[in-house]
Subunit: 358 residues, 2 copies
């Protein structure tokens, strides 16, 4: 990054970008409508207050989705020589709002760092928040290749992986991989709210995983979903149609075609989940071992140390907890060719293997 | 367990029960319609073949849900002095089928060990498969307290936690915490099957968690869902009604009430997920730290060893992987009072903390 960077919005994302750029020696000018947030972010080293004579070449708008278009329009009007980007998790609507407002969109190029945790104020800011994460850049008819390179440099400076998509392609993609999963998970968890304790007490790891993101912030999500309503609605309608086929099959389980409808839903899920990228960006198949770990500090570390000593690389690890039990289960994914030896070596060292799945 | 135990079905569950009981010195008689499976399970030490003069006092039927009622009826007719249980994941329909068939249900008491992984044959069997897991026992109008105690003893011998529910209560509970989550996850993953690579490439941990169980076996799940159709249909219809409210709001995001409908879905999910039992059977709130771990064998073990040396007990741990990146993120849950010191100590030891959330 050459020149001054102005960041509008000193929340988690804005302050994290500021911290990272300050660390790279960039002159970062911070602004936030809340004087308290601004002062806090400056105290944390995420930038300095605006001063007369400032002349930013890049402005990053990091405010809530509902406010983004208005703030970008203001910044475009105030700084006639700067390139403006934003980091909101929806893109088409913001561009349309800017056009409707007659803003100079030739100097706007939207982007979206997929940092995963959009919660927390400047206190939670980290210079390495974006490390290894996709940062989607969304060119449009009036943006230029030079502007694109500036944002690629920004992503690079923050350790992110730049990805290019049109605003519509971005919105459709995040509807599928982020917004619809949020709704599906939240609505599932909502069914638990009034359930009997005895039913909730039977909860296993499957329900726990499926509802983890249901703990997300309602205020932020109402804005995201509202701003990406057409794309989310489209994916969610297809989801609902598939769900309706399952419900129809369950209402007449002995009718011709019902078993097939159920099979297609579950097998379709198999096909979809097989497409998810694995650890290094490819879909690999691993063997998983489930190993019992007593609930004593250091036991899991001892297990992982021994696996390391055996020269086996762990591809994934999950902990499962049993209700009321004094131990947990560690589910470890390894390459299939390593499985047999690992099981034998671990059992020889006294570990209990509670299950294996290819 | 006193007396002989006969196990019908030498798959993962049947063979695991056999292994555990043999380990306790019980005389276990195994049977499977497949001679190959039977021989394999006997080779693994899960029991012995039937012999003339056998007189089992308890029979455990561990066959697929679709076959359970027929097999239980056969066993009731063949062994007039034995108590028969089964381990299928649905209960009301089996009891109704037995009554319809005129079986002697006064000697039948159904149960369901929630062992989590219903896949795999006798090769995957483990004596400790049930350790710490709920084992639901489902008394009915013609079962007795003595029979109940026999199954409680069986659960105890296998290290499981006995739970009592009526068959209807069991079926409604597992519809909520297991069967509907399976459908919701599978149908979500199904939407990915035909998605563009670019969209799937943006997948984060949220989608990964939400679709993990979508890898489940279609054949088994068609049987489970078919056998519990009324209870699953009831929960799924309530889910669909809530989903329809979200879809209606997304189709008219600016209409009065739409934002509120979205907020209620997400906030309702917050309320539901807060009810899930935590590590020791209670819903606790933990602080989570996200720590960067380079992709070198032994790095995670070193991190956990150092956390152990600091005397901090880890309440949960998850690994996140970034697409194409050479490191992962370890998300660690600790008691809130331990968080500040742990962050300071880990940073002093050179670990990078990528995020904190209370």
């Amino acid at each position: 990054m050459n020149g001054q960077v102005r960041i509008v919005g000193a929340g988690l994302l804005g302050a994290s970008i500021g911290l990272a750029l300050v660390g790279k020696g960039v002159d970062v000018i911070l602004f936030d409508a809340s004087k308290a947030s601004l002062r806090l972010a400056i105290d944390y080293g995420a930038g300095r207050a605006a001063a007369s004579g400032d002349s930013p070449s890049l402005i990053v708008v990091a405010v809530p989705p509902d406010e983004t278009a208005d703030v970008v329009a203001d910044e475009l009007a105030t700084w006639p020589d700067a390139l403006i980007t934003d980091v909101a998790s929806v893109k088409s609507g913001i561009l349309a709002d800017l056009r409707d407002a007659g803003a100079d969109t030739a100097r706007y190029l939207g982007s979206h760092p997929m940092a995963g945790r959009e919660r927390g104020g400047p206190i939670s800011a980290r210079a390495d928040l974006f490390l290894g994460r996709p940062w989607v850049i969304c060119p449009h008819a009036h943006s230029t290749a030079d502007q694109h390179r500036v944002l690629e440099d920004l992503a690079l400076d923050l350790g992110a992986v730049a990805v290019t998509m049109s605003p519509d392609e971005h919105d459709a993609s995040v509807a599928l991989v982020s917004h619809v999963p949020q709704i599906v998970s939240s609505v599932l968890a909502k069914q638990l709210a009034a359930a009997p304790d005895s039913a909730v007490g039977l909860t296993g790891q499957g329900l726990r995983d499926t509802t983890r993101i249901a703990a997300s912030d309602p205020t932020l999500w109402v804005q995201i979903l509202g701003a990406n309503a057409p794309a989310v609605s489209s994916v969610l309608s297809a989801y609902r149609d598939d769900l309706d086929a399952v419900i129809a099959a369950l209402e007449a389980p002995e009718a011709q075609g019902s078993r097939r409808a159920l099979a297609e839903a579950i097998a379709g899920g198999n096909a979809g989940v097989a497409r998810l990228p694995g650890k290094h960006g490819t879909a690999k198949h691993f063997s998983t071992l489930v190993i019992m770990v007593s609930d004593v500090p250091g036991e899991l570390a001892r297990l992982l140390t021994e696996i390391g000593e055996l020269g086996v690389n762990m591809e994934d690890l999950r902990l499962e907890h049993s209700p009321g039990a004094q131990f947990g289960l560690a589910e470890i994914a390894v390459l299939p060719e390593a499985e047999k030896r690992l099981v034998a070596e671990l059992e020889a060292r006294g570990w209990k293997i509670a299950g294996e799945n290819a």
